[in-house]
């Protein structure tokens, strides 16, 4: 079998022995649990020798794309290099082995680190305070909006509308709805920015917030931000920043200086912490002064010459995480900021912007960019013309890029660009890599003219060919069933 699942490697009695047998006879230990409360279901975990297991994960590892293999052009995801040194730092026993409920005296370094990171993020963004509890960007959105909601509740104002541009990421409307507020969409204008007229028409005394992404998801700066701030604040509402694109702003623009009241940032994007194949990340939330009382508890604070957890904030929304957030992720982010400092962070942004504009200059003749303005850290091209002329979709182009050893661009949004290809090179990709990627894009454009079928059938040179997603959702198989293999899935090899 070429690619077995773990259960196919199972044979009874051949797992490695990790633990000794208990010294007390098993029945004596079990006597502490009444019969009716015991497990009856057989515990069907696989028994696999350690070498076979190691090979299993080696096989899986080889079937993954990852940052150290090659470039991820994923727009909005900021797939920059994850410095190796951070992995070593986060694994230090003085961080990894700490229990969250340790007496404060035994965790002074950890509490201090969290407080220092809050402070550093405030310095980078111009916000007045941060909470590090949210476990990802979407959790940050939820938390940030909760703060806004609590603020208005305290003021006795009934505001339930949250306004979002039509270019917003899917988590934005989902977070609004989950919280119990009402998402209202506002359209973008012909420049790819929030339409000021449309905004003016929807903002009213029931508006709690406008959620803005900056640069927006087209990679463009909202040039009329001062007017937007006026409209939003004029109506007594709050301005929320989805800080997923903070990599474009470091040392250039501080959201807290220009009218944003509350924001989240994805440290697994801007601050170089790994994506982990889907997580864990972290989504710290920053606020201006007036929202500080509502921040989640407990908060790390200095008390004379020691660090302590402070619980007593009567207006707080309460905790949003079991403990203090994804600590091991936050350690990496702190190391990154400590290493680069102010000048280094600004260089990050400058080079992220340089790389994006360079890549755009290399591909835009073949892949039109609908909003022809200076890009920030990413740009959105459109494959609509290929769809019209050759029935080749953005997704097909993404799949064909896999054959060149690259990942695909982001294609699921923004919804306002037809057949969108959202591309973000990040500052850590070299000129040579950017050029190699551009050459692949151009080769695909040419191939579409000559042999569109080839592109529609991609990929060819990947661990598996195009995956049948509709079969997966028509006949969901989400867990392994012993003996059921082969049913509907002809096994090969």
């Amino acid at each position: 079998m070429l690619n077995p699942v773990i259960f196919e490697l199972h044979k009874k009695g051949r797992a490695a022995e990790h633990l000794p047998a208990p010294e007390t006879p098993e029945e004596e230990i079990l006597a502490s649990i009444p019969e009716r409360m015991r497990r009856r279901l057989p515990l069907r975990l696989p028994e696999v020798p350690e070498l076979e297991l190691a090979r299993h994960y080696e096989r899986l590892a080889r079937r993954n794309h990852h940052v150290e293999k090659d470039f991820y052009p994923l727009g909005s995801c900021t797939m920059k290099y994850n410095p190796r040194v951070h992995e070593r730092i986060a694994a230090l026993p003085g961080f990894a082995a700490l229990h969250p409920m340790l007496p404060e005296t035994l965790a002074q370094g950890a509490i201090r680190l969290l407080a220092s990171l809050e402070e550093a993020l405030a310095a980078v963004t111009g916000m007045d305070a941060f909470t590090l509890q949210p476990a990802a960007g979407a959790h940050g959105e939820f938390t940030g909006l909760s703060l806004v909601e609590a603020y208005f509740r305290k003021k006795g104002e009934d505001r339930r509308k949250v306004i979002l541009p039509d270019s917003a990421h899917g988590t934005n409307p989902a977070s609004v709805r989950r919280l119990g507020l009402e998402p209202v969409e506002v359209r973008s204008d012909e420049r790819g920015e929030v339409s000021i007229d449309a905004l003016g028409a929807v903002v009213d005394e029931r508006t709690a917030a406008l959620m803005l992404t900056l640069p927006n998801t087209l990679g463009l700066f909202e040039t009329r931000l001062p007017r937007i701030v006026e409209i939003v604040h004029g109506a007594g509402a709050q301005l929320y920043l989805d800080g997923a694109n903070l990599n474009a702003l470091l040392g250039i623009v501080r959201p807290g200086d220009i009218g944003f009241d509350v924001m989240h940032t994805n440290v697994h994007k801007t601050f170089s912490t790994p994506h982990g194949g889907g997580g864990p990340g972290a989504g710290p939330v920053g606020v201006k002064e007036h929202l500080i009382p509502f921040l989640p508890t407990p908060r790390p604070v200095r008390d004379g010459d020691r660090w302590t957890w402070k619980h007593d904030f009567p207006d707080s929304i309460g905790p949003v995480h079991s403990y203090y957030g994804n600590f091991a992720v936050l350690v990496r982010a702190y190391a990154y900021i400590r290493h680069l400092g102010g000048p280094g962070l600004r260089e990050v942004t400058e080079h992220a912007i340089l790389g994006a504009n360079y890549l755009r200059s290399l591909v835009e003749k073949s892949y039109p960019v609908p909003y022809r303005r200076a890009a920030m850290h990413e740009f959105v091209a459109s494959a609509a013309r290929f769809f019209q002329t050759a029935n080749v979709r953005a997704m097909d182009i993404g799949k064909r890029l896999l054959d060149f050893g690259f990942y695909a661009p982001t294609i699921s949004f923004p919804l306002i660009v037809k057949e969108a290809l959202m591309i973000e090179p990040t500052e850590t990709e070299s000129r040579e890599t950017i050029e190699r990627f551009a050459a692949a894009m151009l080769a695909i454009a040419k191939e579409i003219e000559e042999d569109p079928e080839r592109v529609r059938g991609a990929p060819y040179d990947t661990p598996v060919r195009r995956v049948n997603e509709s079969l997966a959702s028509r006949r969901p198989r989400l867990v392994w069933e012993d003996g059921a293999d082969g049913e509907g899935v002809p096994s090969r090899g």
Binding site: A15, G279, H321, Y324, Y358, V464, A472, R477
Partner: protein, 460 residues
Amino acid sequence: MSYIPHTDEDREKMLRSIGVSSVEDLLREIPRSLRFEGTLPLPPPLSQMETELELARIAAENGAALACDSFLGGGVYDHYIPALVGQTTARPEFYSAYTPYQAEVSQGTLQAVFEFQSLISRLTGMPLVNASLYDGATALVEAIWMASGERSGRNEILIARAIRPSYRGVLCSHLAVSGLRLREFPFGKEGTTDLSCLKQMISNETAAVVVQSPNVFGLLEETEEAGRIAREAGALFIQVFDPASLALVRTPAEAGADIAVGEGQSLGSPPNFGGPLLGLFAARAEFLRRMPGRLSGMTEDANGARAFTLTLQTREQHIRREKATSNICTNQGLVALAAAVHLSSLGPEGFRRAALISQERALELRKLLREAGGAIPFEGPFFREFVVRFPEESLKRGLVRHLLDHRIVPGIPLERAYPEMGGCLLVAVTEKRSRESIRRYADLVRDFADGKGKGAPSDA
């Protein structure tokens, strides 16, 4: 310039190709009034080496904790982790990969998630498991969202007071404006949930009943009975479970849970000062289309070969936006991988031994602490964690300080969350605590009560 690969020559060439003379030219669309001038007010940059040394110094400030025998639990447990676990998650093929949207080049992650779902399904007995949520607390929030969607029209959630206090907090912060009414039902003097009270409170307004077992005090609840009460009232039963306990203890499926959520940190992850954690979420088959978060499914590729892919994505935010079943996007993928490697490494026997030894040592410590003068307020069946109340006199004289001085972290004080439980500690024991450390803990308590324990910390 760390991690930035460009030389001056590269920059020149790139600028020329763009058609500008400096990066500043690329920023001209940003209104001048919005620009930040100057340098970000951060400490000066450090080299990589200095950064590592600085962080190592901060870690060393926590160093005293490492020398202690810790009896802390409360959701995060210090179980043995096979070497293969950490060495697998330390591979860049896994940690530096993105969410597996492009299935063809993400088979490693997708298959690992599929195996994780399968393993948790076998552990819990529940047929549906997702790819992970942030932590146990937010998994419970998601369970309540799902239950209230399923029982729309009913807007009350009954929650046992004997669930982890941080979960109570997270429920409040997440559900404050949901329109749901959260009501607590108490625990009795045995420390377990008062089911007669649940019976009185439940009504046709109740969408779901939440019980944690083992509960906040480590005690096993009558989950089957709680499930029956919920079902009879037409409400869903949500059980908060502890995966390590399931080696020995009745599964949520056997108890009749509709939704089962839990904290998965104890499956292969170090404590990490409380994060990243692992939200486990499992449910009955009929809830397939209401599941929150990602699902990896087995399918085939264009050649008919076995392949895996994220599936049923129309439930998710990137497709469904405001109508999504959840707002979650990034989850705890790498922590789920750790759990999969952990369970596959230990196998059924290793996993069971961890539970048995933990329980053996917890029983022993409970006995010894009782003999040393500690009171055991709750006598019922428990799993690897129990409550002890030390004599007021000892506490007044600084027993806890004394234990810490002797490098025993004795447990989690319960008084903040349960004001009526002054002097009570929640004590957890895993297979990693030696019998010697258990005896030392009890001896210190006894000697202190006898007035013998005021000496300087021993070097033992």
